[in-house]
């Protein structure tokens, strides 16, 4: 219970401080503040994919339907967060680069992630029978995950990147943020991750309750 209060306070602080305390980034100005929301949300959308895939693997190994339910929940949340990431990203894109969508590699990757979630959920809704649905969607989620390394390799070569490359992590993969920025960014990252897992467990509880209700 205590952590929920901590989350509430922490999240509120983060939101307020983003607009008041954090320093605007040199080149892009005030609009870069969205970075504190956009990046954590994008991170969570990828995390959700990982969670969904791991649950799929576990389902195939144990045939326990709970894992498949988890996979479905993680994917729905993933879709939500990907959508949020796309929206926040577009707002930033319009302000910083002049148009809402540019097929920049990161934008494209997010879009592909959106397609994968959409396809996965479309598959789930096309199979009414539980065990079959579980088997088919687990297989698909693993297939999609396996494509990711190729996407990461291939997508940046289609268009040149507009994303600020040196803001967080430079060529040597060292964290390049100043103290103030870090102090706000990492808690935000943590807070969004906690929110994701909280929603994840809440959804699981709801599914269990509605399953009980049907019986």
């Amino acid at each position: 219970m205590w952590w929920k209060i901590l989350l509430l306070v922490g999240m509120s602080l983060i939101i307020i401080l983003t607009f008041t305390w954090s320093p605007p980034q040199a080149k892009l100005g005030d609009v870069s503040r969205i970075f504190y929301f956009h990046v954590p949300v994008a991170w969570v959308s990828v995390l959700a994919f990982l969670v969904a895939m791991l649950n799929s693997v576990w389902y195939l190994r144990t045939k326990n339907l709970q894992f498949d339910t988890n996979s479905g929940i993680a994917s729905k949340l993933g879709l939500l967060f990907t959508f949020l990431a796309t929206v926040t990203g577009s707002i930033f894109a319009k302000a910083a680069w002049g148009s809402y969508w540019n097929w920049d590699p990161r934008e494209t990757s997010l879009f592909i992630l959106l397609l994968i979630y959409g396809a996965y959920l479309a598959l789930r809704s096309a199979v009414p029978e539980e065990t079959k649905r579980a088997a088919l969607s687990s297989v698909y989620s693993i297939l999609a995950f396996v494509t990711v390394p190729f996407l990461v390799f291939v997508v940046p070569r289609v268009f040149k990147s507009l994303h600020p490359t040196d803001s967080i992590v430079d060529k040597n993969l060292k964290i390049q943020m100043s103290g103030q920025v870090s102090a706000l960014f990492f808690p935000s990252l943590l807070a969004f991750t906690v929110i994701f897992f909280w929603m994840y467990y809440l959804h699981q509880k709801v599914e269990k309750l509605s399953a009980k209700k049907e019986v």
């Binding site: 598959l123 297989v139 297939l143 291939v154 070569r157």
Partner: protein, 227 residues
């Protein structure tokens, strides 16, 4: 008990042979593939008229047409077994891996045959310049290998689902993006006068993608195939 490699191969080829035979008699899949490609190609050629297309655009069109033709023609590979109820015959006949490999090879052969027909059409209607023929053919062959590797198991998944229509395309597209990108770039190079060695990166990508997809599909196919 039969375990030798050559026996395995002959069993897979038996399935491939059956597929080709039935296809020759019904022409369902191939007609879809061919009709789609020809119609789209002529429509584009007609609409473009005298306007000259760049190498990039032609390469993209080539793979676009291949992609959509695959969506039209490769979707039924397992659905037709479910609908005709012949899947029981297959299940009795052999282990899942043999069934998968036979179907995969069949899809690949379908695409190769399609390309034999539409490549000349591309040259004629869209003035596609095959400046580096070897690279172009290699990209086409490996690209169709990759296309088949990814779509065969999707075809199996879709055959077990209820809504069959667009589901195949929806599920396939995200997985095929690497293939499309590598294919388009490779074809660009081949029709733009590049040397064969410049295409290595794309070829490597297509090969590694195919290997990974085939391996994962072989492992996962059992879960889709068995009830």
């Amino acid at each position: 008990m039969p375990t030798s490699l050559s026996l395995w191969a002959s069993r897979v080829l038996a399935l491939l042979g059956k597929e080709i035979k039935t296809e020759l008699r019904t022409r369902y899949a191939f007609n879809s593939l061919l009709m789609f490609s020809v119609v789209t190609l002529t429509a584009v050629s007609f609409s473009v008229g005298q306007f000259a297309l760049s190498v990039q655009v032609k390469a993209a069109l080539y793979w676009l047409i291949l992609f959509f033709a695959s969506m039209a023609g490769l979707a039924q590979v397992f659905i037709k077994e479910e609908e005709a109820k012949t899947s029981y015959l297959l299940k009795l006949a052999g282990p899942a891996s043999i069934i998968y490999l036979g179907k995969f090879l069949y899809n690949w052969v379908l695409l190769l045959v399609l390309q034999v027909i539409i490549i000349p059409l591309f040259v004629i209607f869209l003035d596609l310049e095959l400046s580096n023929l070897a690279l172009f053919l290699t990209v086409s062959v490996l690209g169709s290998l990759a296309l088949s590797a990814a779509t065969t198991i999707i075809g199996a998944i879709v055959s077990k689902a209820n809504v069959k229509g667009a589901l195949f395309a929806v599920l396939s597209f995200p997985l095929l993006i690497p293939v499309l990108v590598a294919g388009i770039e490779g074809t660009q190079l081949a029709t733009g006068g590049a040397r064969f060695s410049e295409g290595w990166g794309q070829l490597r990508l297509l090969v590694s993608f195919s290997v990974v997809m085939l391996t994962v599909s072989l492992i996962l196919f059992e879960f889709v195939w068995s009830e």
